[in-house]
């Protein structure tokens, strides 16, 4: 395991993107920072700028308004970057698939920019914080192959 992979795994900085979530997933993301889960144990912190991010925590259905912005954010992030599609909405637009204001699902939107993007899915409505941590651990395996 190269130093590069070790360092990236131990220090994932998270940028939180809301692409039209009902705010429930966002609350669960914030739960990760609380004393109960404290993801800083694994070196993860929430950062304010996509340029600093290693993980884009995307919540929400990716509406037509949010689509180009999500793509722009992905372009702005310094690679390598992992995308976490959090919640059923971000996974496959959930119950809103048929709605008039939908863009494409999060993974398709990101793949339109970068076909090789690393995307981890966290199903649930909203998913538990434990599930998000488990998703990050799965993303570690992919980081090792970079």
């Amino acid at each position: 395991m190269a130093v590069k992979h070790w360092a990236l795994k131990k220090s994932l900085w998270v940028y939180h993107v809301n692409t039209g979530a009902c705010n429930n997933c966002d609350i669960e993301v914030l739960d990760l920072l609380t004393p109960r889960f404290d993801i800083e144990r694994f070196g993860m912190i929430l950062v304010g700028s996509p340029r600093h991010a290693d993980v884009l925590a995307v919540t929400g259905t990716c509406t037509r308004q949010a689509m180009p912005r999500l793509q722009e954010l992905y372009r702005q992030a310094a690679k390598p970057v992992v995308v976490l599609a959090i919640g059923s909405c971000a996974g496959a637009q959930g119950i809103f698939t048929e709605a008039y204001h939908m863009g494409s699902p999060v993974d398709e939107t990101i793949r339109a920019v970068d076909p090789n993007a690393i995307i981890a899915y966290v199903p649930g409505c909203p998913p538990k914080p434990e599930a998000m941590i488990a998703a990050v651990v799965k993303a570690w395996d992919v980081i090792d192959t970079l």
Partner: protein, 317 residues
């Protein structure tokens, strides 16, 4: 000392400060986590952060000026490393300092924020521009009380501007500057100014994560961000040294002196961290008013008390 020996010493001091800085950064985050009833990051966290940033991509915004944007973090790092080296020299050997090195250190410590402003302005981002303008006002606000507070130390040690001599003087008959009324006042002012110099809460308005998205650093990524991270860690390690040298008797290389120095160092670091954790961010106008109308008169009072004490022979003043 010959020139190569001096250069080697300075390089060793800079490298040592880097390690100390990363340790201080971890200490800061760990104490923060404990204050919030969290477990906090493992001890190698800052090392992992820096290594990770060094391996990431460097992005230069299309609206920015590449050269100024990329060179600014290097300038900040250089100035911080030099200031750190100039503080270590008088700590270990009182002859290791030259006349007026206090003034040089004060100048060097202004360079990192100036470089930050340069980089932020070169990045062409409106968030960074807001951050840069706040940083500029903040420098204007804290620099005067900071220098006035250091002046108290200068007066106490008989108008010497040589850090080595100041430390030697405090280790002699006179006692540390801190153990006097003016010394305590000056220390309070200096610690708050240090807080602003470090860009820590309550004076972190230049980065203000939740309103201007880490402001001055918003466009940095990869290696330049690593340089910023390192230079800020080094600044965190360096500024307590300056306070100890000027106000608290420096380092005595004896069996009791070294633990005492370490204790003082950790105490100052903890204090800075606790101030950061127990205060909300100030608005820029509040911060400027706080420094100009609150701390500057306090620092002037301290200087006057120190002068009276010096010429009336009252060492407790």
């Amino acid at each position: 000392m010959s020139v190569p020996a001096i250069i080697l010493t300075y390089l060793a001091a800079a490298a040592g400060t880097l390690l100390l800085g990363l340790a201080a950064k971890w200490f800061d985050r760990k104490v923060t986590a404990r204050v919030q009833y969290r477990k906090g990051p493992p001890w190698y966290q800052p090392v992992a952060d820096v290594l990770k940033l060094l391996h990431k991509e460097t992005l230069v915004p299309s609206t920015g000026r590449g050269a100024g944007f990329l060179i600014a973090p290097a300038i900040a790092l250089g100035a911080t490393a030099l200031a750190a080296a100039m503080l270590w020299a008088p700590l270990f050997a009182h002859e290791g300092s030259f006349l007026g090195d206090l003034i040089v250190v004060i100048y060097l410590l202004v360079i990192p924020p100036l470089a930050t402003i340069l980089g932020a302005s070169a990045s062409g981002s409106p968030h960074a521009a807001v951050g840069a303008s706040r940083e500029m006002k903040l420098i204007l606000a804290y620099e005067l009380p900071f220098v006035l507070a250091l002046l108290v130390g200068v007066i106490h040690s008989g108008w010497t501007l040589q850090l080595g001599k100041m430390a030697a003087d405090q280790q002699g008959q006179a006692g540390a500057t801190l153990y006097s009324i003016s010394g305590v006042l000056a220390m309070i002012v200096a610690i708050l100014a240090v807080q602003a110099k470090l860009g820590q809460v309550p004076f972190d308005l230049a980065e203000a994560e939740c309103e201007i998205m880490s402001g001055v650093f918003v466009e940095y990524s990869g290696p330049p961000l690593a340089l910023i991270y390192i230079s800020r860690a080094m600044l965190l390690a360096t500024l307590p040294l300056l306070l100890i040298l000027v106000f608290w008797g420096g380092l005595k290389l004896t069996l009791t002196g070294v633990p005492a120095f370490l204790g003082k160092y950790l105490l100052l670091l903890t204090l800075v961290t606790l101030i950061r954790n127990t205060n909300p961010r100030l608005r820029i106008d509040q911060a400027v008013r706080f420094f100009w109308l609150g701390l500057t008169p306090l620092a002037v009072l301290a200087a006057v008390l120190a002068l009276v004490g010096r010429y009336k022979g009252l060492s407790w003043l």
